[in-house]
C-alpha cells in the first residue's frame, strides 16, 4: 500500500479549529484537529455523534472556512471549493427535477465544460447504472441514487474524494454492496478517499487507516492501521483481527460517551441540532 510521504501528504489538516456562532452561543466543533491523508489512501473518520466529522469534511472540501488552522491539498492551502476535490453527500443529494444524465451533467454545466462522455459511460457501467440515464431520482432505489451520486462526483476526475456518511440511509446488504463498489472504484482509479461513517465495520472494510475523533470538540483521539490486502473479501470481516479491532474502536467511542456529565452536555445539544 502506498502510504505516501509523511511530510508531503496529499491532504494535510493542521490544527483545524472551527467555532460556529449560533443563537444559543458559540459552539466549538473542532479543536486543533490535525490529520494527514497520503495520496491513494483511504482514510475513514469515525466518532461519536456530533463530534465534528461532517464539519471536518466540509472544511476539507473548502465549503466551510476554519476559525483557525489550515488544510492543504498538495501543499497548497484550501480557501474554497477546489476542482480536484469531489464530494459524495449524505443521502445521494441528487437534484430531483433532473434525470440521472442531467444530474451527472450538472457539475459540467456549472463549470461550463463539455462532459467527458466516454468516462461517464465507463463510470455508469462500473456502478451498474447502464440504461438508467433517463430515470428520475424518485424512480430509483436509495442504493442506485447513491451510485449515481458517486458517478457525479467522479465524473470530473477529482484526485480526492470526500464521502460524508454516504451509505448511512441504506440497508445493511446494500451498504455492503456499496462498500465493495467503492473498493472496486478505488482499485480502478486509486483516488484518495476520506470517508466519514457511523459504521465501524464499514470503516474497517474500506480503509487503510481508521481515525477516531473525540466527542465534541472534535480532535483526533486514536488512529488504527488496517493491514489487510486488497481486494478485501467479506470473509476477512469475520476474522478475529477485525473483531478485536472493531471492539477497540467501539471502546474508544463508547469510552468517549461515558465521560463526565459536564462534558457531555454540549454534545447532547448538537444531537438536537443535527439528529
Amino acid at each position: 500500500m502506498n502510504t505516501g510521504d509523511a511530510r508531503n501528504p496529499k491532504l494535510g489538516v493542521q490544527a483545524a479549529t472551527k467555532i460556529y456562532h449560533t443563537a444559543s452561543g458559540d459552539l466549538l466543533a473542532l479543536d486543533r484537529c490535525s490529520l494527514d491523508v497520503s495520496a491513494n489512501e483511504i482514510v475513514s473518520i469515525v466518532g461519536p455523534s456530533g463530534c465534528g466529522k461532517t464539519t471536518l469534511l466540509w472544511s476539507m472540501s473548502g465549503l466551510h472556512g476554519l476559525t483557525s488552522g489550515e488544510i492543504r491539498l498538495d501543499g497548497i492551502k484550501i480557501t474554497g471549493p477546489h476542482p480536484d476535490i469531489g464530494i459524495v453527500f449524505q443521502e445521494a443529494n441528487l437534484l430531483p427535477w433532473r434525470n440521472l444524465d442531467a444530474n451527472i451533467r450538472f457539475p459540467f454545466e456549472i463549470k461550463g465544460e463539455k462532459p467527458d462522455r466516454a468516462w461517464i459511460a465507463h463510470l455508469l457501467n462500473r456502478v451498474g447504472l447502464d440504461g438508467f440515464g433517463g430515470k428520475f431520482p424518485r424512480e430509483l432505489s436509495g442504493g442506485m441514487q447513491q451510485r449515481a451520486a458517486i458517478v457525479r462526483a467522479l465524473a470530473l476526475k477529482p484526485s480526492v474524494l470526500l464521502m460524508d456518511e454516504p451509505f448511512g440511509a441504506l440497508d445493511s446488504f446494500t451498504r455492503e454492496e456499496m462498500n465493495r463498489l467503492v473498493e472496486e472504484i478505488w482499485l480502478d482509479t486509486k483516488t484518495t478517499i476520506v470517508f466519514i461513517t457511523h459504521s465501524i465495520e464499514e470503516a474497517i472494510f474500506l480503509s487503510d487507516r481508521v481515525v477516531v475523533l473525540s466527542a465534541r470538540p472534535g480532535r483526533v483521539a486514536k488512529e488504527y492501521r488496517v493491514p489487510f490486502a486488497r481486494p478485501r473479501s467479506l470473509e476477512i470481516m469475520a476474522t478475529k483481527e477485525v473483531f478485536d479491532l472493531t471492539n477497540r474502536i467501539k471502546m474508544d467511542i463508547v469510552g468517549e460517551r461515558t465521560r463526565p456529565k459536564a462534558l457531555e452536555r454540549p454534545s447532547a445539544e448538537i444531537v438536537r441540532i443535527r439528529p
Partner: protein, 282 residues
Amino acid sequence: MSGGDAIPEFSKSKSGDGHEVSLTNLSAFASGPGIKSGKEVAAILAVAVIIIGGIELALRLFHVPLYIMPPPSSIAYALFDEFPLIAPHLGYTLVELVSGFTIGAIIGLVLAAVITQFPFAEKIVAPYILLLVTTPMLALVPLLILRFGFGYTPRIIAVALAAGPMVMINAATGFRRVDSAKIALARSYGASTLQIFWKIRAPMALPMILVGLMIGAIFGLLTAVGAEMVGGGFGLGNRLTTYSSMIQMPQFFAVVLILSTLGILIYVLFFLIGKKWASWEA
C-alpha cells in the same frame, strides 16, 4: 468565509417543506381533473345528463318563470344565439386578464426572487404584502376609474394588483425553501450566486411558483369581471349587469357559463404545465 457558516445540516425528511397546506401543494394538481378511464368519463357525463335533465324537467314541471331560473335548454340556445354578440366582450376580458396578469406576475416573481435573498428586508415587507393579498383589489376600482376613466387601464391595474401579490407570496415560499445540501453541492463545483439561483433555487421554487401563478390567474379573472361590473361599457362583467338589468336570464347564464369555462381552462393550463415541469414533486 470563516465563522459565519451554518452548521452542515441535512433534513431527514425529503427535500422541501411543501407538504403543509393543501392549497399550496402541487398534489392539489395531481388529484385534479386527471381523466382516468373511459368508464369514468362515461359516468361523469351520465351524472351531467341526469343533473341537467333533472333541472330542465323540474323547471318546466313547476312552471318556474324564466326571470327566476331559465331552463338549461334555453341557456344553451342563448349561448349559441348570442355568442357572436358576447364574443367581443370575451375578447376584452381576456385582454384585461392576460395583460394585467402578465404585469402582476412578472413584478411578483421578480420581487419574490429579490426579497427572499434579504431576510431582513423580507421581514419588513411581509406585512405589506399580506395587506395586498388580503385586500380585495375590487375595492380600488371606483378610485381607479375616477383617475383613469372607463377604459382598459383601471381594469388592467386592478388585475395586476390582484394577481401580483398572490404570485409573489407563493413564489416567495418557493424561493425560501433552501436546501443547504443542494446549494453546497452547487458551491462545491464553484457555482456563482447567479448559477445557484438559476440551477438550484429557481427549479426548487417552480412548483410553488406554478401554484402562485394559477391562484393569481384565477384571482385576476375574478377582479377583471368585478371591475367590469363596476363601470365601463364592455367586457363579460359588463354583459352580466346589462343582461340582468334587462332580465335576459338565459343570456345572463350563458355568460356565467363562459366564465366558469374560462376558470376551468386556467386550472387545466397550469395543471398541464405542472405535470410537465414540476411532476418531480407531486
